[in-house]
């Protein structure tokens, strides 16, 4: 069966001209990847890595000065196929919430503070569901039940709910029309640790129930370790590694990934964690060749001059590194033997 999302050589830049100064920020610079059906694909990357811009293109939610410069991002839904990178606003509008939905980071930016929850639900869901009145309300209550929220939530205002409840409502909004593809952008970053685990398990359960695919974006590797089936690492606008979760954590094949994985502190372990030199590059003026080379402990002359392609280096694992073969897990990583086989 075809992959639900296929991204090919996508490039999206910020093109700005202000007071005679032209700037071209290469936020998404040639990304090729795909998301399979019924899979959770994690995207890891830091701030100013370009992951947010990438997500916006996938969500058909970009505005100038961010523009798609090249490439495509094609969704294969059950009843239609659409390339959001090149489609017009009407086509994008048609799939929003019914086929493709977006869970955002701050719940308060989605929920209108002066409208009751049920009004917001009506605004979002009435059209895609094609229901109204009592039938619509019945659906809401049913859906809230799956989220373990009482029906009284519908009559409440957003500020009357706790942070965790609000985030569940946001997830509810995104899932009520049974979309086939969900983009979750740091949905739990602002939440407490206890609530976070709860919300994450909710997202995971909903995904399994609906059979939808999810792109889950977060910089927190521990969340990816527990949520994602496959993980893609974005650095400076490019995809630098992609692998099934367990493989990524136990046998990374890119120095950046190796560092990210090793630097996670764990309870019960006090070995000194490695620190990475330098800082993420400026996307308006990225380094030549491999964009990670200024910070890379394995960098050689070739890395400065030629951009390594994203190549398959192991079963289902791709890495964009000339020296992928020399990448070993750093001190502080979890030894492969300790990680149990994934349960599906």
């Amino acid at each position: 069966m075809a992959d639900i999302l296929t991204v090919e050589h996508l490039k999206a830049y910020y093109l700005m001209n202000y007071f005679g100064i032209t700037r071209e920020v290469r936020a998404v610079d040639d990304i090729t990847m795909s998301v399979r059906r019924n899979e959770v694909y994690g995207i890891a990357g830091e701030s100013s890595s370009g992951k947010t811009s990438f997500i916006r293109v996938l969500a058909a939610a970009i505005r100038p000065p961010l523009r798609v410069v090249a490439g495509s991002a094609r969704y294969e839904f059950d009843d239609r196929s659409i390339d959001v990178a090149n489609a017009g606003p009407e086509a994008a509008e048609a799939i929003r919430w019914s086929h493709l939905s977006y869970i955002m980071q701050g719940s308060m930016s989605v929920l209108n503070p002066v409208r009751r929850i049920e009004r917001t639900f009506e605004d979002f869901a009435a059209r895609p569901l094609g229901l109204s009145g009592r039938a619509l309300r019945q659906r809401f209550v049913e859906h809230l039940g799956r989220l373990k929220l009482p029906p009284e939530v519908l009559r409440a205002f957003p500020h009357e709910l706790s942070g965790g409840m609000r985030q569940r409502v946001t997830i509810g909004l995104a899932t009520i029309a049974n979309p086939q593809f969900i983009i979750a952008d740091e949905p739990t970053t602002a939440l407490d640790v206890v609530v976070q685990k709860d919300v994450l398990s909710l997202i995971r359960n909903l995904q399994k129930e609906m059979g939808a695919s999810v792109i889950f974006v977060t910089h927190d590797m521990a969340v990816h370790a527990n949520m994602a089936d496959r993980v893609g690492i974005i650095y400076a606008g490019r995809l630098v590694e992609e692998a099934p979760t367990r493989q990524l954590f136990t046998a990374p094949k890119h120095p950046y990934t190796a560092h990210l994985v090793a630097s996670l502190p764990r309870i019960g372990d006090t070995t000194q964690r490695p620190a990475l030199e330098g800082r993420p590059p400026n996307l308006a003026d990225p380094p030549q060749g491999c964009r990670f080379h200024p910070r890379c402990p394995l960098a050689i002359e070739k890395c400065r001059q030629e951009v390594p392609p994203l190549a398959t280096v192991a079963p289902d694992q791709r890495s964009a590194c000339w020296r992928w073969d020399d990448v070993v897990p750093l001190p502080g990583s979890i030894p492969a033997a300790r990680v149990p086989e994934p349960v599906r």
């Binding site: 202000y18 007071f19 005679g20 100064i21 700037r23 308006a284």
Partner: protein, 285 residues
């Protein structure tokens, strides 16, 4: 400094037009220093002459060359507007920043006075001053009085910006860096308040000049001092339009409208340039 000016002129059309307009009027008013005629003397030229090569703007019914008369008029008017703007900015910045940052009883007292000045109707007060001072009411005194009324609205605006800045983390960091409240207000918060100051300064000039013109036309200022308002007063009292001396009314009005337009354009373009958000955007954040 110069490069900023050059950038603005090149890329911001409103700024360029504003500079041209205000610049021309200012140059025009500066010509008054080279005037061959004394503006206070009357019947020195043939009255009611339409514009010609000899008298560029014609002459008025009082026998004065309108061109040179207006150079003095605009000089006094611009000087007046600038004085009011500067004085009232000083008051509104001091009051606004102090009330916003220091809070507490300082805020309450200052806002109490602020609201009193908002409530007092300025027009009757100005007329009162005129009746008390008569011909002793020179431009500077009038400017002083107007400045005392021109600050309250802007002070509140500045206060609200200061209130927001007080809670930002860099203010707290400045406190722990040992900076005194005065230093914080002057160096950390003032730059954020500058856009408001510039745009309100222009608005203030338009307001004060407009008020002065109104008072003068009605005869409530010292009509012997040449200003735009008094020029219109004399034009009115000689029934210029009825008599057919249209240039006496039309030319000053056109010039003052161009002045206001220029000030307005400068205000909005400077505002956009100085605004921290747009400056940050320009720096590429």
């Amino acid at each position: 400094m110069f490069s900023i000016f050059r950038d603005l002129v090149r890329y911001n059309i409103e700024f360029a037009i504003g500079v041209v307009l205000v610049g021309s009027i200012t140059l025009f008013s500066l010509l008054s220093f080279f005037s061959p005629v004394d503006p206070t003397m009357i019947y020195v030229a043939i009255p009611d002459r339409p514009p010609s090569f000899e008298h560029l703007f014609g002459t008025n019914s009082r026998g004065q060359d309108l061109f040179w008369q207006l150079t003095f008029a605009f000089r006094n008017t611009l000087y007046f507007g600038l004085t009011v703007a500067v004085l009232s900015r000083i008051i509104s910045i001091t009051v606004g920043l102090a009330a916003g940052y220091l809070g507490g009883w300082v805020d309450r007292v200052l806002m109490f006075f602020n609201d009193i000045f908002v409530a007092i109707p300025i027009f009757p007060i100005l007329i009162l001053f005129y009746f008390v001072m008569r011909s002793n009411l020179d431009m500077f005194t009038l400017a002083l009085i107007m400045a005392c009324f021109g600050w309250p609205f802007d002070a509140r605006l500045i206060r609200s910006v200061a209130l927001g800045l007080r809670n930002r983390e860099f203010t707290r960091q400045a406190v722990f860096a040992g900076m005194s409240p005065l230093k914080i207000m002057r160096e950390e918060h003032l730059p954020y308040v500058m856009p408001i100051i510039f745009s309100t300064a222009m608005a203030n000039m338009i307001w004060s000049i407009g008020l002065e013109v109104t008072l003068a036309v009605l005869g409530f200022t010292n009509i012997n001092i040449p200003t735009v308002g008094t020029a219109l007063y004399w034009a009115n009292s000689h029934s210029a339009l009825v008599v057919g001396v249209w240039w006496w009314i039309l030319i000053p009005v056109i010039l003052i409208v161009l002045t206001f337009l220029g000030l307005f354009l400068l205000a909005i373009s400077l505002n956009e340039y100085i605004d921290p958000r747009s400056r940050l955007r320009r720096m590429g954040v």
